[in-house]
């Protein structure tokens, strides 16, 4: 049940597949729920070239590790996975992946969603838009990606 912070583009489907192959047994889990958040090019003024995602490395890692551990217990998961980008992100690139493996679909869905909601509310990440004229911090009421 790892939480992985990445400063490079990643392919969520390859990561799920790889994690499953390496860490789970084929017939063990009956239900896999996943969520991928991607940077949209939509709603972004044309001058925005990319986003920079700042984080508080130790606390972010600590927070996400604890979130994985707590979710696994609370929802009785077989396993879970969180991957989150930091650094420069371009439109169309995945920002976050949450995955829950469980024996039961309700738990898988609930856990996957809970990870996203908790992460969006509490994980120490801050988005900044980079434009050709300068930079500006994204606020919670702006909708540049999945929100």
């Amino acid at each position: 049940m790892p939480a992985i912070l990445l400063d490079k583009i990643f392919n969520p489907w390859d990561e799920i597949q790889r994690y499953q192959t390496e860490h789970l047994r084929g017939g063990q889990y009956g239900a896999t729920a996943s969520f991928t958040g991607t940077m949209r090019d939509f709603n972004i003024k044309e001058t925005v070239t990319h986003m920079t995602l700042e984080h508080y490395p130790d606390m972010t890692q600590h927070y996400l590790d604890k979130l994985c551990k707590d979710c696994t217990e609370q929802f009785e998961l077989d396993d879970c996975l969180i991957i989150h980008r930091f650094g420069d992100i371009r439109p169309g690139e995945p920002i976050v992946l949450t995955v829950a493996w469980s024996g039961h679909r309700a738990q898988a869905f609930d856990a996957c969603r809970h990870m996203m909601e908790e992460l969006k509310s509490n994980a120490p990440f801050w988005k900044k838009e980079v434009t050709d004229k300068g930079e500006r911090w994204v606020h919670n009421d702006q909708h540049h990606n999945k929100e």
Partner: protein, 77 residues
Amino acid sequence: MSINVQFFASLRELIGKQQATLPYSDGSIVSMVWKDASNGKTMPDNTLCAINMEYVKPDATVHDGDEVAFFPPVTGG
């Protein structure tokens, strides 16, 4: 006898630094650490505080050697 203070994102820019080391004073609380580290700037209303990677309220007690962090509302995910 010191405290490590960290500022992130817009607060880093507001304060003009990422990090500060303050002498530890007995009975210190988070809001006092802000005041000392920020040269008396007003703490923005929505500021989040953490001690040693855990969220705390501004009136939480600080201990010697703690890492105290200040940052704006998070926008990850």
